[in-house]
Symmetry: D4
Subunit: 254 residues, 8 copies
């Protein structure tokens, strides 16, 4: 709660328009809805510019559906990640307009007016190393998209055939932000980081042979990037990469 809001409440008290007891409640009161098993943070879209995102892993299908429905009531866009088919079926039952991307495993609801990316935002370039990284890349795509960022995809341009990447050099340099999704050794992030002058958000994936150790290898590669301007999100966290890229894209309203 910001200082101005507190001051406004206090002025009402001072002017006799609000009882002290009520004012105290107001100040303490928080903006969440309590479903018992979950406390939905309706205040988040004001605080963070986007509503709470539903992380489906470990939640019951009916729980996801109820939370989803509750969020739809208060927001223009809603996103659920790591959603199974089974969960989508429950959600669709309550919110028929919800859309499922089975590769990304995301469920998205957007008011009609929100379905086109915001043309005033900077462009996000989404680069991925191999076809095996598609699921994570698509999660990043759906996330950035639902937050209003225009996204251009450059898939399967890993460093084993670096001319494929260099071919898109011009397009990459036009973006406000680049997401790099790569598994195995994750070298792509460093190479892209050395080519562009905008922030690179690197997302390691768990794709690979033995010593990849479920993404540890590509994660360490990206954290140690010798190129400047690279920051990293969690392994397989396409959502996190897309979210961060969209936040950056919004700043670039040149």
């Amino acid at each position: 709660m910001k200082r101005e809001q507190i001051l406004e409440i206090l002025n009402k008290v001072s002017s006799g328009n609000l009882e002290p007891e009520d004012a105290a409640n107001k100040i303490k009161q928080t903006a969440f809805e309590d479903l018992g098993y979950a406390k939905i943070d309706h205040h988040r879209s004001q605080r963070q510019g986007f509503p709470e995102v539903i992380y489906c892993q470990g939640k019951e299908p009916h729980q996801v559906a109820e939370i989803f429905q509750s969020l739809v009531k208060h927001n223009d866009n809603v996103l659920a990640t790591r959603a199974s088919d089974k969960i989508f079926n429950k959600v669709r039952h309550l919110i028929p307009q919800a859309r499922y991307n089975d590769l990304a495993r995301t469920i998205i609801y957007q008011k009609e007016a929100c379905k086109t990316p915001n043309s005033k935002y900077g462009k996000v370039a989404l680069v991925s190393a191999g076809t095996s990284d598609l699921a994570v890349a698509e999660e990043a795509f759906e996330t950035a998209q639902v937050m209003g960022a225009p996204v251009e995809k450059f898939y399967d341009v890993g460093v084993a055939g670096i001319h494929r990447l260099l071919n898109f050099y011009d397009q990459l340099t036009e973006a406000s932000c680049v997401i790099v999704v790569a598994g195995m050794e994750g070298a792509l992030a460093s190479v892209v980081g050395g080519l562009v002058d905008v922030p690179v958000i690197a997302c390691p994936t768990s794709i690979g042979y033995g010593a990849n150790f479920n993404g540890l290898s590509s994660m360490l590669t990206m954290l140690n990037s010798c190129a400047s301007g690279v920051s990293v999100v969690n392994i397989d966290n396409g959502f996190g990469a897309g979210y961060q890229a969209a936040l950056i894209s919004k700043l670039d309203t040149r």
Copy 2:
């Protein structure tokens, strides 16, 4: 090399103003200076908006000094990181205007005109958890600063006394980007991430007791942040955090 540049060269060939042999050299030619032990990438400031940064670890003092001098000739700003006293003394000998921050262990050279941050850039908020994290925070500060970003510092506001952080809530929400520097368990990144609607660049430090494992603990914390909009740089990599933040700050010319 961009398509337009290639086209321009080819047009000169076509119009007879350039020999094919010379054009081929031009296209292949790269913009680096070869000092034997190092190849200085003078092309980088065009490609990435800032000249190559000198990472001093493992380099001889005289090598750093020579590279520094070479960069000063071609650029308005020069930055060297992880620099010892001994290295600074060598550099100062060649470049008397160079400035040393002994906490951050950075050497900086800035043309007079570059010494004030660019007022059109968005503000960077630099938050650190404890006084023990100062060295890393200062490296981030110097880096963002030398790249032209205005930086506001909020030091020693760790989560063990969360009212210290909440006290600065309003100021934090005015930044274009927040850097969080924290060691021990690194929880500060998640808390800040939950409060603001701009990108948070989290920098783990190696400060802490035993199971911190030289920063591994805070690094994992930050990568697993339950708050959205947090991306992570390497342990103790204040430079990387400052660089990424400055890139974001430049985009925000609202």
Copy 3:
């Protein structure tokens, strides 16, 4: 065996009421029942204030049922953890009053008189970060409860929306002990630790994306907590957290 007990036996020997041979047996004799595959420690409730708890993983359903039955004969409360449906069915057959919590995967038997928490004990506050952590939190709940501690639940109050937690600040400060259950980056333990003046028992969970490494991340976070007064149990060990909290709760008979 305590000194007084030995002395008592010896006095009987001295007074001719006990044969030396029988006394030696008595002293060496231990209070456990041998089922062949298991040695049930019936002495534990005297020694530790609560009977041996059955850890079901790796045990055959019929083994669990027999051990459960044996414990019911000697104790007022019996607890089995990590129990599958299949195991519960075997147990219920022998002990119809046994109760199953399928989220917590616990089986509990309580004599009628033990079903209400001991009002003289201090209150345990049970705080969990996200709905995905519910299973572990419930295991902690059932454990503390069966040991007689009054427990109040505060679920889904993770740091990404810190106002949800701060909203319950007053209630938290009234507890004798706080359990914090959190996965992902586990930052909640530090934040709670900074708010209260009673022991915090932190229980990391294995919930999370890639670099969570099955709970390693949250475990390290909690062990490195910058807040004082936090100690940690094993990953997903809701039982351990509940047990420790109940022991503390019993001390607080103010």
Copy 4:
């Protein structure tokens, strides 16, 4: 800030005894002192029952001395940990009554009246495995002591000669809480945990041969304890163990 305090302020506003503007400041105002490099949390002793503790690692001697002095002004007891000789000399200059334990590396200031442990608190038993673990044990001792808890020491009672531990069985069972400090394989925590019916706070140390991996081995041992009622603090974190034990000791005012 608690609800009652907010209500009190609001009542003053309502009754005209306080200007809204001043009230807003009061509500937002936080209780810390800003030394530039540090924000001293003077509010902590109210919130947590003990003032902020100074962790000296990574701080300049003069910084520690200034923070120490500032804390002495507001509190009855002050504690600094991981303090070198050099730091103590700076502190002693400003606060001549400060006392140094060079084994524990702690600096302690206590008002005369605070020098005897609070006889109403429960007793803390402090058990350590080997003479090599003394430094960590002493840090735990000083910490619990300065917080007012009566502490009894049982040093060098490792499991390789288990009769040494069993010899003190009666004394151990009289404590409200047991701290176990052990390096190498840390098995002592499990053995003690199986003997007593009060909370055991286990503190792994980094003492040991190769595969101890700087305390990792004993830390994992303690987290995996097959005995119930054991929770764990960070490696070599004698402070953390002493603090947690003192909090528990305070609850036990039987």
Copy 5:
């Protein structure tokens, strides 16, 4: 693109045989085919002497089949690794001549003329430690074979019965390169490395009991080999070992 190729294009421009615009396109143009989800690198066989290899993990069967078909059109040999039965069935539908090794999980297509190893190449000796390592060894075999290298197998000659290996000493010394495939402790690589004077390519496998940690143990063993002339590929990466060995075999045209 090599300098000569650029020069040739420029000469055409200079002589008026090519428009500058077309030349620029040619220079930028890269040799890959875009299937949407994949960019097939047809240039690779020129650049690396063997076409792109299809790594099937994480790809849909129909995707593999289409990529396979596209590669068959442009190349004499095609290899897919980590292929399931299901994938092979899809591929066989499009390319009936494709052959499946279900132990190695490879799919291979070879033009008739390529089916015999190149007799001018040096021989590859393929040594494996135990029968449990066969799958990885066979992947190495198929890979080296399809690249034209003659391969001789020495299976089940682990160091627990070292006379089995020593028995083949003469044959081993005749090879140009030795592949060693071993799980558990991987000691075989060091022993072989100490016996021969040609490069040893060591491939750790994930076969083994607990502390093998999915191949970590044998991988570390091989990287630390006290014998010189041993280099290592990823865990279970029979393909990588076979590929590297074939490259070496090609050099040895004595």
Copy 6:
């Protein structure tokens, strides 16, 4: 091949009883049978006192059966470990006298005369911590047994109720060697190691909660044992523990 055997061959050559060519073959010749996928080391029972043991993991049922049959022809005792039901069925078909322990997952063949332990060997005490460790303990039991060692079992005597172990103190001190099988924190090995004056072979198991990390915790505990006279085998390697104990038991023919 020992020096005497070489000398014997050479004497035959010298006396004209053996052709040089045949002698060379004899010297180089090794005692193994080549099944193609496996080289059975029939020489092992001479060299190591027990025939090659079949590790079934990763082998086809028919392969195990053939190797088993081949070993039965040359030896009095045969052991296969990690054998599934399916594998046993194949083996039983060829060797009807084979016996299966489904808890230990071992298949054993013993000539009638070998079925009783060798009474001249020292006794092996087999101690296990919990009922969940039974499978590993049974593998150790079967292995030591088939090698002729008399084994006495002490199951479920973990340190959480240390009186259960102390109760068997006298019996333990009579053994020539003690095997300790324990998961979770594995503290039992240190406690036993501190009680007896014979070699303790410690076998960690993968039983436990999260930070057990599949046996890493108990393995490290045992390697770091503060008690002397403890050596360790691989995680879950009951076979290795039983084998080592039997070797020691054979030495003790007092």
Copy 7:
């Protein structure tokens, strides 16, 4: 305390030769000497056949000297490990007959009669891989020696030149027990394990390049040994290897 001893005491009580109170003390009484900072376990030589060994790391020189002196009074042999020059000087002052091995860093005291190994014990073969492993090997040597075992050394016989080891094959097969000390990849343990039919005690050392990770690599190698009859002690724990080998050697009184 064994059953017979208890019975004896009780008989004295029964016959009136001992007061019950005194008997209780006797039973509870333990055999250690309390130096304040240390509790010397004088009972150990009865219980374990060798007195408590002094591990010097982390102890003050004067503490070591006092403990050493106390042990000399009660025992024929005394051993201190990890002793610096400085510590030895303190010890020598009190016990002039003490002997220092500066490579092994051991201090040894032996009564004249104990200086020759016990000829009735089996021989220990001590094998080490490289000259860099000498310090650890010597610690093993001194330990086994002081416990009375005859030891034969085979140094610098690593697997990179396996003929050096095979050359000593006959001698190795005559030992009762083999110690293998090896760093780097530690393959020597498996090779020796495959050659002999007696227990192999493997001791990994921290000698090696990068991915040796301070002995982790050789430790894992040894734990995963494909040869049977190998058990492992801690990294650089020459003492542990020598102790275990001596215990085995004592059993072999053939």
Copy 8:
């Protein structure tokens, strides 16, 4: 010992030119010199094409000097690695022609005739990422050089400025083998691996910030390389990379 050599000895026995006893000795006899602390493997240059290399770490200066001298007597080239100044001074005393590279920390002795690389061998390209990796690169250089391979250096061509590497594309494609030395994230190995059609030997270095974990990051990157034809040596093992490259170079006598 090869079959022909055994046959030759036997023929001499058969023809009466050699006594059986002497022949047995000859067969058993091994080619090493015993210095007590070391067994010098003079047979190695025959067996492996290059004499035993002296790894100086952990050896006394005088030991290195003696081994060096012994090797010089039997060989044309001698190499010592990880040698300090102090060691070199000892060696120089005995072998004045020895040469020291203080960056590489190597000591080399070459007969005059061996000082020029063998022009018939293929060329080794030695690529390094940054100036901080020079020490490791130089160790690789000296090693390959002393083994007779011609080496061309390409230093400081890391992927952050990829045009520096691409500039040397033509030269790289002319080599028989490429060594890639890189720290930080080690991405250079993958990029080079994607450009050339010869074996790439990748050598990770320990250069870098925090999450490099002393080279673990670059090592994992290289092991997971998405480019084919890359095999890896130990961290900082310039020697191993140079040795393997020289072996490959020797095969390529086109």
